[in-house]
Subunit: 343 residues, 3 copies
């Protein structure tokens, strides 16, 4: 067999290291397509001048560009036969990605647990994206439920890794040179600095975007993510193309500009759940909740820990869970991340 | 409120200056997406070699790229609550935009007039886009009808600015260095020079393009234009996404290549009316009428003043208005502009 | 008439040379859009680092980017009034196209044959794309059936050019500097080198992509291909937009990564038939057959001659023709090409 059938649960062993194909060079073309597909307006990735004015030069692309590219590389090896993406943790952005950078990704299997049905198992991997200088750019843990080849295969020893609930503020990596001392709030689009946000505050980002198949496929392909369900109407019984979960993340993050325009840089992703599938014709809205506020060492730099919730249709009540503790109807994404914000 | 609710009629005062967020750097990615969304083939923006051969280096992007970016910045502040875009005037392109340029836009309120219904008013603004060197790149006047917050608010003093019907040929800005003396008509795609066009001549551009939602949304997002009606099927009672008027301008301009291949550069927009809304599945055609022919000082450079009309479906009769003086059925756009043409 | 009505059969004469408008500069934006529209993952065009590691720097774009741009230029002059694209032959890629290159295309009429119905004729052209240094980048022969203006026009002398069934391995042009000695199979995504492929071997590329109108129109516009049938629902009686045949080529080539990840560079196209039309909502799959295996002079470089077949729906039986010798139902494309592969 010269084609890739993907890995099944039995193919993973604890400590196994997978070098993912294929390296990918980021370009100004990626920035432009990202901006055509997501309604992003954050000043740092939008303007080379603004980025330079806060110490970032050459001009970084949106953090999620790097994340999706790095993540996409893992799909053919890790999640081609996945039943579900179960979660993310400990994702840190170590340095900005700039046009000309070439990313490659390596994953190590850090946990395995067969499910009681003997048909599936959970695989935990820690993935690391490096650039052309071998420097770490992004790393993260992720766990997925994967089909077993055969219910007869013996179960491996269960190892469940211990993962932090959230990256501690002191563990956030501030990009070298970042300095918000001369931050231009008028150019950035909002006067609200770190101190203006309080824990528990919720922000309805108001705007909504109705999804199309062409757009989510283009985005997902740009990241070289090859999961069939996103592209092929024959891959699911309902004949619909499942929207890549990362598409909803990027869309919600872009929508959050309206209310969080100064949440310039994503520094870490603490946790993420793709609560419900999204499809073309769904109209996606977003709201955020402030979970934590932290001052960092870098000049005038602070961090907001935010819950970013994407919903199908607008929920002005911003309800995450019902009284039964389950996610409310219409919730698509529940993402917990850290953003760097001027203080 | 941390989200932007947009300005209502009462929020505008005569002489008010608004610095629009967020600056935006133009890249080769923008050129490529523009070429993927509009069927443009003008030789100057298509070929760096051709552009250099007429004195333009580095390689300019299509003028409308700069216009849409500069215009998009004004939307959150000027027209988020607009009932209608009423018109443009005195739009001049002061210098070519090249990849690497960062544009920002500032607007000044130059006129106000409350409507007799006391529910809406007309706001005139003069907007100026500057680059990273602070030089003026594009400026234009525009007037929009905006909702009042409350019918009870007192009306401001009525001030209607005096705007020129058209930019005079002597006021057109020819890009520094432009020289059409060695113009290669074979490469450009047409043998027809300035002298071959006569006032009153009409040209049916023949080709048509059927619109899709994915494409007009991608274009409109690229310009960071955030008006809800373009993206969200819940924003209008009919559940359709209104096509951004500038999308129709760029589409018609691109279609005009077939008949006006040597109308290389847009120098000014004299007036523009979005006569009827456009939606996905409409097939857009275009025709042009020559309004004025002018010789300019620059070597072998002339200017054609053109009426560019976009229609839903092809109208081989090229009828702008019916006998009642109203725009003919199917007319979407009536744009009056100046193009620089070799003579 | 200032608009281009295209050429009819009577307009072509043997030996006629046509300089096609308009030159086009390739950019990183083109690479990015190509990667958004086609699921390509070949390591050379994906990674500047990988490309440099095999001797290719600056970073080439996918060969088909150059081909489509060069081909698109010929459409307004050669095939605007075409009934059908009948075939390709002797297409060779003489050097990689890199961002910054400006391509122009010239065609010479090398054959003419009126059909017995006197209403159409076949035109053979040899087209040559050159770069800004005047160097040949790609050349190919192509023949199309074109409408006559009038059935009354006299038939020209019949001249049918002699075209090779395939480019001989010794005539393939290996890019200057290409050296696969240090080829990294893990990065490239497959351990299978030249010697692992045997003549007659068939590979089912498994994955499928369901087409959308927005995507094929964007791709086709990017190549400045103006044929109406791709863009205008009024151009065909069935109201459908015909997918540009080259779109299916690029899609099938990208899908072939899964099984042919090391078929890095397209060196020649020997023959190609667009067997059936493709439309939005068709799900395109692909399979390949190894036709010939050749070792070349360049270090560690070999060549695979491959038949690349695109189908509507997946055909695991990989049947090209039925017992009647006709193409099997569902076959869209039958392309015979040479790829450069590490040995």
């Amino acid at each position: 067999m010269k084609t890739n059938a993907g890995n099944f649960f039995e193919d993973f062993t604890l400590g196994q290291v997978i070098e993912h194909a294929t390296p990918r060079t980021i370009t100004e073309g990626d920035r432009a397509i990202y901006g055509a597909i997501y309604p992003t307006r954050f000043a740092v990735p939008s303007s080379a001048e603004f980025a330079a004015s806060v110490g970032l030069s050459p001009h970084p692309v949106e953090e999620m560009v790097g994340f999706h590219v790095a993540f996409g590389k893992t799909v053919p090896d890790v999640s081609l036969n996945a039943v579900a993406n179960l979660g993310y943790a400990e994702c840190r952005f170590h340095q900005p990605v700039v046009p000309g950078d070439t990313l490659r990704t390596r994953s190590e299997v850090i946990g395995l647990k067969e499910n009681s049905n003997a048909r599936t198992g959970v695989v935990w991997v820690r993935s690391t994206a490096t650039n052309q200088r071998g420097e770490v750019v992004i790393d993260w843990a992720r766990w997925v439920m994967v089909h077993k080849h055969s219910a007869e295969s013996p179960a491996p020893e269960t190892v469940v890794p211990s993962l932090a609930d959230a990256v501690a503020p002191g563990d956030l990596v501030v990009p070298a040179g970042l300095d918000f001392s001369a931050y231009d709030t008028a150019a950035a689009g909002s006067p609200h600095l770190l101190g203006d946000y309080g824990v528990g505050e919720r922000i309805d980002h108001v705007d909504g975007v109705t999804l199309t198949d062409a757009e989510h496929m283009m985005a997902t392909r740009l990241w070289q993510n090859t999961a069939k369900v996103h592209f092929n109407t024959d891959a699911r019984p309902d004949g619909r193309r499942l929207v890549y979960g990362g598409h909803v993340i990027s869309l919600a993050r872009a929508l959050s500009f309206n209310g969080l325009a100064n949440a310039q840089l994503v520094a870490a992703i603490n946790a993420g759940a793709h609560v419900a599938p999204a499809f073309a014709d769904d109209t996606v809205h977003a709201w955020s909740e402030v979970l934590e506020v932290a001052e960092l060492e870098a000049p005038a730099v602070g961090a907001l820990r935010l819950r970013l919730v994407a919903t199908r249709g607008r929920d002005e009540s911003m309800t995450l869970r019902g009284e039964d503790g389950k996610y409310a109807d219409g919730v698509l994404l529940d993402l917990d991340y850290w953003a760097l914000v001027p203080r």
